[in-house]
């Protein structure tokens, strides 16, 4: 039965794999099944007590037997209560444990997937798999499996018992309920694909939601509220439609499972009556058989009920393991060595790069060498490949041709942790995490002392505004960095990078929202820092004031280095550099000089 649930390819396999996660909690799981079986046994004993009270007590007018029976009944109830509690509690413990492990494994996978995966993936899609799909699998592992095991045990046991009791009647009963097998099979085949579509639509719905929440300001500014609601409404409608299909499928399944189960009773009574009339059977035998028939029909009806649970879990299992099996493209090479403390020599050797799925090469043979302690400025038109170069140094992506070397080590030959541990990166978009300002600055070095955090903030020219906040470094900033301006957020991001005491610093246009005055101070502080720590720095900036003092300026044009050198050299040799400068300095300098 469990081999082909879901009605979707891989559904059964996914469920078996999910069950594998129960291994760590096998004590709990076995405990739950055992408690269920024992509780059922206790239930079987209760009628015996009642019979004892009536037949042995009242019938024979021995009142103390009645009392014994009452006592026995209460004892059984307490034992059964305890067992039922254990069953529920242990099943939850095991299934929550499985959900915990699955979610943890998924989160770990997500944390380790390569950047190119995130260039394509939607947050809402991932969130759905980690929450809703995991929950479906959990319900299967918790309630589903235990009910399934118990149902199968009871089914086999009851069938065997009935065959022993009266083979002809048993055959009649089993034949009558046989269509149930076909019903459930057809049902599973039908709802499997439906569940697949439900989960996919759910993902889409949540992606719309997540996107709407993330882009809230744009939505409001462009009066997109009604259109967003309509877009969401379309997915919601589709989801409703699918859910109604499901309801229809379910409504066509379990009532008829029950119908055929009842037909079993009918067949037994009918055929049994016929047999009695022909003196092949006694009434007592028929009644006994009939009462045991209930033990066969109950698990059958349970199966009808949990069939949809299992199908759904199969679908969710496929989705969960699909994410879990997404290959991590960038892994440490088997013979990767830790990168020794960096001197800071950076070499690009005929580097070519193309983003996954893009037809155009972003870098088309870039070569340069930066000496330790140099400040390298990257200049070029939008989309010329500046950020891409800085993304290749910490190996956020792998080159598609050529090599990137640090101190002569190919970045693919060293461990990622040792590589990134020595590089401080300030990304273009200054993302803050919910937490305090201090937590945010100490993101890369959570153990840093407050003094160290302060020092980094001072160097990033962030100390004065942070100290002006109501709770200073303990001020809570939300995920949107409430109340902080773009420039302030950027400076916190810079402090974050400085605190890691990087041997190589990458600033990707990270002062674009900072005013000129603050930037000048920041520049001076960074210069001092870079000199004292003799760290190599890569700076992308549009402003000439940031670029001009660099030891090496790389002028990029359409994925190639058009010119490189110092400011003065480039002024003399590069037409393009000249052009870029003039676009910035036109008229402004005249006034300034005046």
């Amino acid at each position: 039965m469990a081999r082909k649930p879901g009605g979707v390819p891989g559904g059964g396999k996914a469920l078996w794999r999910a069950l594998g996660y129960l291994k760590r909690y096998r004590a709990d799981a076995f405990g739950a099944v055992a408690a269920l079986v024992l509780a059922s046994a206790a239930s079987l004993a209760a009628p015996q007590m009642i019979r004892l009270a009536i037949d042995g007590g009242l019938g024979k007018r021995r009142f103390h037997v009645v009392l014994v029976a009452v006592g026995g009944l209460v004892a059984i109830a307490i034992a059964r209560g305890l067992l039922n509690f254990l069953r529920g509690y242990l099943a939850e413990k095991a299934s929550q444990g499985v959900a915990f492990d699955l979610r943890g494994a998924l989160y770990e996978r997500i944390q380790r997937l390569s950047f190119s995966y995130y260039d394509q993936a939607q947050t809402g899609q991932l969130l759905t798999r980690l929450t809703n799909d995991v929950e479906q699998v959990r319900m299967f592992v918790g309630t589903g499996v235990i009910q399934l095991v118990a149902a199968i045990v009871m089914l086999v046991g009851a069938a065997a018992l009935l065959v022993l009791l009266n083979p002809p009647l048993a055959v009649v009963a089993l034949v009558a309920i046989a269509p149930i097998y076909l019903l459930i099979r057809a049902f599973v085949a039908r709802v499997g694909p439906l569940f697949m579509r439900v989960q996919a639509t759910l993902s889409k719905l949540f992606s719309v939601l997540q996107e709407d929440l993330q882009g809230l300001k744009v939505v409001r500014a462009f009066r997109g509220e009604a259109r967003e609601a309509a877009r969401y409404g379309r997915e919601n409608e589709e989801l409703l439609g699918l859910n109604l299909h499901l309801v229809t499928a379910i409504s066509r399944n379990f009532p008829y499972v029950n119908f055929f189960a009842n037909l079993g009773t009918l067949a037994v009574v009918g055929f049994g009556g016929y047999e009695i009339l022909h003196q092949h059977l006694t009434l007592g035998e028929l009644l006994a058989f009939n009462s045991y028939l209930a033990f066969l029909l109950m698990p059958v009806m349970t199966l009808g009920f949990i069939a949809s649970l299992i199908s759904r879990a199969g679908v969710s299992g496929v989705r969960v393991f699909e994410l879990l099996d997404t290959p991590i493209e960038l892994t440490d090479a088997p013979d990767a060595v830790p990168l020794p403390p960096l001197q800071g020599r950076v070499e690009f050797d005929d580097v070519r790069f193309r983003y996954a799925g893009a037809e155009k090469e972003i870098l088309r043979g870039v070569s340069f060498t930066a000496a330790p302690g140099q400040t390298v400025a990257l200049l070029g038109t939008t989309g010329s490949g500046k950020s891409t170069i800085t993304n290749l140094i910490p190996r956020f992506y792998d080159v598609t041709g050529g090599a990137v070397r640090l101190d002569g080590f190919d970045v693919r030959q060293v461990t990622q942790a040792s590589l990134r541990g020595q590089i401080g990166v300030v990304l273009q978009e200054a993302l803050l995490f919910s937490g305090t300002v201090r937590d945010n600055i100490a993101y890369g070095r959570p153990a840093a002392t407050l003094d160290e955090v302060r020092e980094a903030a001072r160097a990033a020219q962030a100390a004065s505004f942070i100290e002006g906040l109501p709770q200073g470094y303990d001020t809570v900033v939300g995920e949107r960095g409430v109340g902080l301006s773009g420039g302030q957020r950027q400076r916190i991001a810079i402090a974050r990078a400085l605190l890691t005491r990087p041997r190589l610093l990458i600033l990707d246009d990270s002062t674009s929202a900072v005013d000129a005055q603050t930037e000048a101070a920041l520049q001076a502080a960074l210069d001092r820092l870079v000199k004292t720590m003799s760290c190599t720095a890569f700076v992308i900036a549009q402003r000439i004031s940031t670029v001009r003092d660099a030891d090496l300026i790389l002028v990029l044009d359409d994925g190639r280095i058009a010119a490189q050198g110092r400011h003065e050299e480039l002024l003399a040799t590069s037409e393009l550099y000249h052009e870029i400068l003039s676009s910035q300095l036109r008229s402004g300098t005249k006034k300034n000089a005046a």
Binding site: I50, G57, F63, V70, L73, A77, L82, G88, Y89, E92, A99, F100, Q111, D119, Q120, G124, L127, T128, L130, T131, N132, S207, E211, D212, L213, K217, R220, A221, A229, Y232, L244, V247, I250, S251, V269, G273, Y274, L283, T382, G383, K386, L431, D474, V476, G478, E479, G483, R491, S512, V514, A516, Q542, R543, S545, R548, I580, S583, Q584, R586, G588
Partner: protein, 607 residues
């Protein structure tokens, strides 16, 4: 678990919602079902049919045994009985099918309605609300909390309704059979109610905790996914995993604890039901002993007592689902009960096409009380001008840009467009006059064309291209294999930051606003491209007001008016030349940007 200041827990604690009255939540949920009352009434009627069929079938069987098999020994009679039984079973299955369709169908429709309501409410909540609530937590309410209701409705509700009906029937039968014995049995009912109340109170807090922790897990997930690049760059992966493990474990433990309570509930009722059976045997036995009750009646009574507790057991078994659904509903209603952005004032008029005069009149504004960002800011900008707003980081520039489209309301003073207070006009008509290019460009998952046409969904491809040409991104887009139909991811995929800014810019251009607000819209665009944009814009924006926030001199130098903001106040105002002459803050800012400028000037000046 310790509550580190500033953690998501602390944030959640800050915004913790008031627990709601459970009865009220229930009434509201029932209220949600109102539009489907006809379907539900039909469903309930069918439940009665099902229950009756369920009750009649055993009677038909017993009658067949007594009369046809044992009594008349008639094969034909047996045949008829079996035929009747078949009919009853068939009716019951059909009724069950119809009942599932009507009740579960209504449940699904109600859920879809709730999901839609939640989304629409989120479209109306003031922006300040989202500054305080993590996106992940809000998502968790639409995802998981509505999910708990779904589970309850699809798995529990029909069973519960059926159980309640059979309960009523059995009560009646017991009273009719022997009132005295029945009443003795009912003495346990108050105990049962008390037990339920005790468990409900505990379950309530426990399940609220499970919903809160799942919100925290989702918030952490969401942040983990959005901040993946930072995590990787700062080698934070292991630490993030550990932090997530803690939240994940908190959620697991909360669930296990909550189910611990509900798992104990069902056995407690079981013990009670057995006590009732024992009571019947004890007291009933005593009655039978004294010949006041026949043994047959006693047996019947025993069956009824057990039947009586079966629906109670069913109710108990879906207790977990019910409690979870309640806790989820509380969180759903917490959002629906938030005050939405104040509606347009009753006298709000539609703002026609404006000339573009922008007036700030003694504006005071604070995101957090006690920390004013704008303090008594006043200025008056003539229509059709290019206005630059400059100032140090954190001076309040972006805030100014946010007040014009009324993203937030001023604390005191007024913002006016063409002399009209923005609070006195319809929001929609106000925002139609404006277009904003925000600091961080946000692109939607979809094609480039859709993104550019976001403010003008009806725009033709030609118009989209024209806008893209204006901001100088047409060449790039046309060079892509699929051109404007290239699908980009939610984060903008592999477009560079500058390119994303340009797409956002094109979006604003296409919206054809009377007032254009550029909040560092080109900060990551190279200066050559920017110069081209400026030229193109100059003709396009002739006669329209544009407000530009920028640090780059090349961006602001052409402005008709420059507003210099410092600490939320206007400190200088004038044209570039005048302000340089004045030698104030602006002159200082410019000097800082062009320190040592004269060295290059000689070379560049002729250009």
């Amino acid at each position: 678990m310790s509550r580190r200041p500033g953690s998501i827990q602390a944030m959640a604690a800050m915004i913790e919602e008031q627990p709601q009255d459970r009865g009220r939540v229930l009434r509201r949920l029932v209220g949600e079902l109102k539009p489907f009352r006809r379907a539900i009434a039909v469903g309930l009627a069918l439940v009665v049919v099902t229950s009756v069929a369920q009750g009649v079938a055993p009677w038909v069987i017993s009658r067949a045994i007594d009369r046809d098999i044992v009594g008349h020994r008639s094969l034909t009679g047996l045949g008829w009985s079996m035929l009747a039984l078949f009919a009853i079973y068939a009716v019951r299955s059909l009724a069950q099918q119809a009942q599932t369709l009507s009740i579960s169908g209504s449940g699904q429709r109600m859920l879809a309605g709730l999901r839609q309501k939640l989304f629409e409410q989120m479209q109306r909540l003031p922006l300040g609300y989202f500054d305080r609530h993590p996106v992940g937590d809000l998502m968790s309410r639409v995802v998981s909390d509505v999910g708990t209701l779904n589970q309850f409705l699809s798995q529990g509700l029909s069973q519960l309704v059926g159980a309640v009906f059979s309960l009523a029937g059995i009560l009646l039968a017991m009273l009719l059979l022997n009132a005295r014995l029945a009443l003795v049995c009912f003495t346990l009912v108050p105990v049962m109610l008390l037990t339920t109340a005790v468990f409900a109170a505990r379950a309530r807090t426990a399940f609220r905790k499970t919903r809160e922790t799942v919100g925290e897990v989702t918030a952490d997930l969401q942040e983990g996914i959005v901040g993946i690049r930072e995590a990787r760059a700062f080698n934070r992966t292991d630490l993030n995993l550990e932090r997530f493990r803690a939240r994940n474990a908190a959620n697991r433990d909360a669930n296990v604890a909550a189910v611990g309570i509900t798992s104990a509930f069902s056995p407690a009722l079981d013990v009670l039901s057995t006590l009732a059976t024992a009571l019947v045997i004890g007291y009933g036995g005593w009655l039978a002993w004294n010949r006041q009750l026949s043994i047959g009646l006693l047996v019947a009574f025993l069956i009824y007592v057990q039947e009586f507790f079966r629906p109670v057991q069913i109710a108990a078994s879906i207790y977990t689902l019910m409690q979870s659904a309640f806790a989820g509903s509380e969180r759903i209603y917490a959002i629906l009960d938030e005050t939405p952005e104040p509606l347009d004032e009753s006298g709000a008029v539609e703002l026609g096409s404006v000339a573009g005069r922008i007036t700030f009149d003694h504006v005071v504004f604070a995101y957090d009380e006690g920390r004013p960002v704008l303090r008594d800011l006043s200025f008056d900008l003539a229509p059709g001008k290019l206005v630059a707003v400059v100032g140090r980081t954190g001076a309040g520039k972006t805030t100014i840009a946010s007040l014009i489209p009324r993203f937030y309301d001023v604390a005191s003073g007024a913002v006016r467009l063409d002399g009209r207070d923005v609070r006195g006009v319809q929001r929609e008509s106000l925002r139609r006059q404006l277009a904003i290019v925000p600091q961080e460009p946000f692109l939607f998952a979809g094609t480039l064309a859709d993104n550019i046409a976001y403010g003008q969904p009806g725009a033709t491809r030609d118009e989209v291209e024209a806008a893209a040409r204006t901001v100088g991104i047409h060449g790039f887009i046309a060079g892509l294999a699929r051109g404007y139909d290239t699908v980009i991811g939610e984060a903008g995929g592999t477009l560079s930051h500058g390119q994303r800014q340009l797409v956002a810019f094109a979006r604003a251009v296409l919206a054809d606003p009377r007032i254009l607000i550029l909040d560092e819209a080109t900060s990551n665009v190279d200066t050559r491209t920017e110069a081209l944009i400026q030229e193109a814009l100059a003709t396009l924006l002739a006669g329209r007001t544009s407000l530009v926030i920028a640090h780059r001199l090349s961006t602001i130098r052409h402005a008709d008016v420059i507003l210099v903001i410092d600490h939320g106040r206007l400190v200088e105002q004038g044209a570039h030349d005048e302000l340089l002459e004045a030698g104030g803050l602006y002159a200082e800012l410019v000097r800082k940007q062009f320190r040592e400028a004269p060295a290059t000037q000689a070379l560049v000046a002729p250009a």
